[in-house]
Symmetry: C2
Subunit: 324 residues, 2 copies
């Protein structure tokens, strides 16, 4: 960090009583951390040419691969796999029918090629007919009980500590933080508040349709086997517009699925921040980018150079990956 840069954002740090070590403690000193802190200072310091009013401080984050890991496959796919196995005795036809056959045979290679649409198809088949309350209970049961195959820890402990700190830092700086994920909205909402500090109304994701039904016990919403919205790729700006109705000033992602969200956020006038998490740490997490089936980072990585997005190198930039 150059001296003038330190001087430039010193007032904000002094005001909040924070030091660089307090802000983002799990981030190593370097260009990525500096870029974030300098951006936040520029848009939050009154009188700054780049000042953004609190109402417009919207920050959006992808979930899979950006806030938590996504290997060997999206965690929601592992959830769906467990559901297929649990429900298989009632569905003998699944033994010969894809993608259920691949699930029951633990054919991970086939599953990895499904993409988020295939994942949603699995979810639909295994969850149609449940009410939204029943589905929430199923999600919470799984998220509390299931363990990741490599780390043998709950999935909610495989979130990125530096990104948790970034979310908090942004919120402390007056930002409203949102998840904008290709994953299922009803898969994330039950635990996002506790794990990320992000309430249900700030979780945007893919969804299946639900229908209102009056039962003897009272009204319920029943989940239908029909896709409502795919919040991935060009769907992400659409989801942001639909749910938030403002253009964010900060967007974080990690794959080509986030390309349009970062383009949409960083286009136009005014100070904007685009962040890409680059998975470079095969020892502590995973290393992958242009060739990966899950979380492919190819076009967006090339675009980051042209656009000046900050590419976070996990191995270089993060002191720790997961919370202790």
């Amino acid at each position: 960090m150059t001296l003038w840069r330190i001087v430039a954002f010193l007032p904000a740090l002094v005001m909040s009583g924070a030091t660089l070590a307090d802000v983002l403690p799990s981030w190593n000193p370097g260009a990525s951390r500096d870029a974030i802190v300098e951006f936040v200072d520029r848009v939050t310091r009154e009188g700054s040419a780049d000042y953004v009013a609190p109402d417009d401080r919207i920050a959006v984050f992808d979930n899979d691969g950006t806030l938590w890991s996504e290997k060997p496959v999206y965690f929601q796919l592992l959830f769906a796999i467990d559901r297929v196995k649990a429900l298989a005795p009632e569905h003998p036809e699944w033994q010969v029918q894809q993608p259920f056959k691949a699930v029951l045979e633990n054919d991970v290679n086939t599953l990895a090629t499904l993409g988020e649409r295939g994942l949603l198809q699995l979810i639909m088949a295994t969850h149609a007919g449940l009410t939204t309350d029943e589905f929430k209970a199923v999600v919470l049961d799984w998220i509390n009980a299931a363990r990741h195959p490599r780390f043998e820890r709950p999935y909610t402990t495989l979130v990125f500590q530096p990104m948790i700190e970034l979310l908090e830092y942004l919120r402390n700086s007056g930002f409203k933080t949102y998840i904008v994920s290709g994953g299922g909205i009803e898969f994330m909402r039950p635990w996002a508040q506790q794990v990320y500090g992000i309430p249900p109304e700030q979780v945007v994701g893919s969804s299946i349709k639900v229908v209102y039904e009056m039962r003897d016990s009272g009204p319920v919403l029943v989940r239908l086997p029909e896709i409502d919205f795919i919040d991935d790729k060009a769907g992400k700006p659409v989801g942001i517009h639909k749910f938030i109705g403002k253009v964010p000033v900060f967007a974080g992602g990690n794959s080509d699925g986030d390309l349009e969200m970062l383009q949409w956020t960083t286009a136009g006038t005014g100070e904007r921040f685009g962040l890409l998490v680059h998975h470079t740490d095969g020892a502590r997490e995973w290393a992958y980018d242009r060739e990966s089936h899950v979380g492919r980072l190819d076009k967006a990585l090339s675009e980051s150079v042209k656009q000046g997005w900050t590419v976070v190198d996990m191995k270089r930039d993060w002191k720790v990956i997961y919370p202790k």
Copy 2:
């Protein structure tokens, strides 16, 4: 109000330094105002058996007929009519094609029977191809320039002053206030913050589809002539679940289009509030209920008795209708 009720909520009023006249000043003393104030006290006073944590204090309000007037027809329909007339020279086929024919002939009776779906069809035909930014500009131009045929005032001055005070009172009591309207989400968002104090991300409504497009000038979202979501009747609980992901504790409406929203909100355990605005004041506003084409209040009025919802009698309960 009985003495014990006054005593019961006295601590909260003393704490905030408020008096009954400060809270909801445009509401006449009586059962409706009392029910609201007592409810808010019960759910916000710590130690109360009915205490609701701030995160769960969600209040939802219909817009047309609940927060502003809706006669002679939904104001958004008047907006669409003005658009049809402006665009008619480019569309000679509209002279013989409904619902455009009715618009061009000022056939209000036919238009009044269209319902919100018909309104959306008009909107789609007249606004397809615009970007979301262009549409926002069109809405703001109209809302600033147009005048209501009866009152000859801007539409944004035909909001209900007592309801504005209710929104503020709820927000001051830790509630997050939302609009959940059958009207178009992109028709309301451009002015809802200024008029109601409700930001875009807390406006839920009907929508047409949009698609992301990269142009030479940068990325845009283009509006398509295709319905995305109808946020009316049984669609309202669906919209609440989709956008908010929590069951509200307070719901306000005025017509049968709000029946399911009030059922969904007030079902189950815990203290909940259902409010219906009953249009009873033909002199200051309009008087209508069970037989009205626009804003029919029939089933929901009957249901209010069974459910114990508070029916606000505009003539009796409101000192003023519109802001001065």
